[in-house]
């Protein structure tokens, strides 16, 4: 098994052994997405108007709840030191950890968000675009969360600060993601924002792990 697979499989296994914790961010997302219709007047036209923005913001917020599973738990039990010392390059380890983390935290959102969108009176025809936009945004979001998690490793309680670090950086994702969703809703061409999301994903995945690996090293010193 390649080094990438070794780390990837191990992180997946650890995540699924604590499967109940995987559910918390998803339940958080559903609760937040349900609160808006309660707070706003629930006319169908208004719901559809705010729906796009609410769903994207709620998805980003809920992805922050799972941040401790990325590096914090490994740092607390000494595993991160061993990963750093092992002959496997840390950049590769980070890439594998991000992939496993995205698979268990972000992929469920890619499924859950379009389902929730139905309750915002979004037409079925717009849902594939929404799911695709989320799928393309996921790698970048994962890398951003990884940067936040790595930079706050040396802090005792990093969780809340990660949000302050990461959320402002999700601006472009939010803009292109909601734009693609809105264009999809109106039945127009969504190629431009989706391609921009894809370009951001390529950039994030190619440069992110290098930066995160360096930040983890500094964070453990």
């Amino acid at each position: 098994m390649s080094a990438f697979n070794v780390v990837f499989v191990r992180d997946l296994r650890v995540a699924f052994r604590r499967w109940s914790e995987l559910g918390y961010p998803l339940i958080f997302f559903i609760i937040v997405a349900t609160m808006f219709p309660l707070a706003l007047s629930p006319t169908t036209s208004q719901l559809r108007e705010v729906g796009t923005g609410v769903l994207w913001v709620a998805a980003f917020l809920s992805s922050l709840l799972a941040v401790d599973g990325l590096f914090r738990s490994d740092a607390d039990d000494g595993s991160l030191e061993q990963l750093l010392l092992s002959p496997v390059p840390m950049t590769l380890t980070v890439l594998a950890k991000l992939a496993a983390h995205a698979l268990v935290t972000l992929l469920p959102l890619v499924v859950l968000v379009p389902v929730t969108a139905l309750s915002y009176n979004m037409p079925l025809s717009a849902l594939p675009t929404l799911a695709l936009a989320l799928l393309l945004a996921a790698p970048t979001l994962s890398v951003l969360v990884g940067v936040g998690a790595a930079l706050t490793l040396s802090l005792r309680r990093g969780g809340s600060i990660v949000g302050l670090l990461v959320l402002p950086l999700t601006g472009p994702l939010l803009i292109f993601g909601t734009r693609a969703t809105d264009l999809g809703l109106n039945g127009e061409s969504t190629a431009a924002p989706l391609l921009l999301l894809a370009a951001l994903a390529v950039l994030a995945v190619s440069l992110g792990p290098l930066a995160i690996a360096a930040a983890v090293k500094v964070g453990l010193e």
Partner: protein, 185 residues
């Protein structure tokens, strides 16, 4: 924390780091492992600074700190398998588990192990790492007398096979070998 410190270690040699709490034993071990850079000076393995080692040389250095690096939700065997795969080693570890009296808990999740048993698994990882240089930070913590004896025996066996070891300890007598290098911090 400490200055004017210089020592060389060759095959079959053991160095014991002793000193009161807070004197820098852990810091020195972390510098030797390459986890922290020294403020000044350098730590080298085979004349190469520890932070610039290539993967094969990197794998010759094993560090065991205060934490056992066990995933609580994985079984003992899964933890060992992951650890060995990470280091690119393949070896049967039934014998090692038997010696450590861990057979009965081999398929239990690490969270159900006692502190002493977890420490024993950490020892198994060290033994199975195949590393030449063992860096151990107070390895006898939580171990019973039998476990401590086994640790000392393994260390001596490792040295006899041409290995090196640096051990931070408050009980240097336990490791007493005539040739041990005592480093007082």
């Amino acid at each position: 924390m400490f200055e004017q410190l210089h020592f060389d270690l060759g095959p079959t040699q053991l160095a014991l780091l002793v000193g009161p709490n807070g004197s820098g034993k852990t810091t020195l071990l972390r510098i030797l492992a390459g986890l922290a850079p020294p403020t000044s000076g350098s730590a080298t393995w085979k004349d190469v600074p520890i932070s610039e080692l290539v993967a094969e040389d990197r794998a010759e250095v094993a560090y065991r700190g205060h934490f056992e690096a066990l995933k609580r939700d994985l079984t003992v065997v899964e933890n060992l398998e992951f650890h060995m795969a990470l280091w690119g080693r393949e070896a049967a570890f039934d014998g090692v588990l038997a010696e450590l009296k861990l057979n009965k808990v081999a398929h239990m999740r690490a969270r159900y192990l006692s502190a002493g048993q977890r420490r024993r698994v950490a020892l198994a990882m060290l033994q199975l790492s195949g590393a030449t240089l063992w860096l151990m930070d107070e390895p006898t913590t939580n171990l019973d007398s039998e476990g401590r004896a086994l640790l000392v025996e393994w260390t001596h066996r490792h040295l006899a096979a041409g290995g090196l070891a640096v051990v931070a300890t408050h009980q240097p007598d336990e490791f007493a070998t005539s040739g041990a290098l005592m480093i007082e911090l």
